[in-house]
Symmetry: C2
Subunit: 173 residues, 2 copies
């Protein structure tokens, strides 16, 4: 079934810039049986570790993040680009190829008693996931691990993530 | 339970601009039992009408949209801001208070056999929802209705939506 999931990802050449092979997950989302399988497989390693909140980054992390939260009976916490969240936030800046990006989380989103799972649809260079980890820790939570639908192995994004924290990806390119 | 849902929405004054009372749904998302209730209530009017796809607009529509799709055993179709979708798209432009905005959907996202439900977390002036309706119809689909978590009644957004198509909102302000 992982093979079907992988084969259903559509590769779009030269998006968003020439030379980039974009891995498009929308054909998976159109098939409810594949979404259901992906959600089950993503939470499987984290069923017994007491996850209380799932953190996911806009926009594509919002698609499966709340379903992972539901499957774990946990709350869902949106992590957003700068200026989108209405209430008081904490923020983290991380380096992009050119320049920086900033993500934010509401200040009351997690606390000392929370065990969080961090999700995004795809891990590339790992900058966003690493910044989300720092937000969670700054908020007082402990991090059970990371769950990605797709991992771009050649970019070695998981090397940027905290050593010793589990990282699970369903599909590798 | 609708009362609890409504009371859990946090009102943030003067966001994003002075004078706006922002209705923040993140406290609902943090409570799995409220999310589960909201999803059930949102799909309830559409259980028997053969919905094949749920369309939702980024970013906040992505949070519950896929859960509505799962509950209806339907596919999920992301509708995105201009330039975000990698494959060939169809697009619709709509008026904002100042200027315009454009949303897009993949050209193969819906077809003549599809019955779609359109979701967003909140309906304000209705411009985004009306543009999503036009995308669905242009793609050949028929529209079963609209499902919103929050409706800002004073803005009368539902008057902008196609007459005769059902509109259901769980919480009104």
């Amino acid at each position: 079934m992982i093979d079907v999931l992988r084969a259903t990802v559509r590769t779009v050449p030269d998006f968003p810039t020439p030379g980039i092979q974009f891995r498009d997950i929308t054909p998976i989302l159109a098939k409810p049986e594949l979404v259901r399988f992906a959600v089950k497989a993503l939470v499987e390693p984290y069923r017994k570790v007491g996850v209380t909140k799932v953190l996911a980054v806009e926009a594509r992390g919002f698609i499966l993040g709340p379903m992972l939260a539901e499957a774990l009976d946990a709350g869902f916490i949106p992590v957003r680009k700068s200026g989108k969240l209405p209430y008081t936030t904490i923020r983290e800046t991380y380096a992009l190829e050119y320049g920086n990006d900033t993500i934010e989380m509401h200040i009351d989103a997690v606390g000392d008693d929370d065990v969080v799972l961090i999700h995004d649809d795809l891990i590339a260079t790992g900058g966003t996931a690493a910044a989300t980890f720092r937000l969670a820790v700054f908020g007082g939570a402990s991090v059970a691990g990371f769950a990605f639908l797709v991992e771009l192995d050649a970019l070695e994004g998981r090397l940027l993530l905290e050593e010793g924290v589990p990282v699970h990806s369903l599909v590798h390119f």
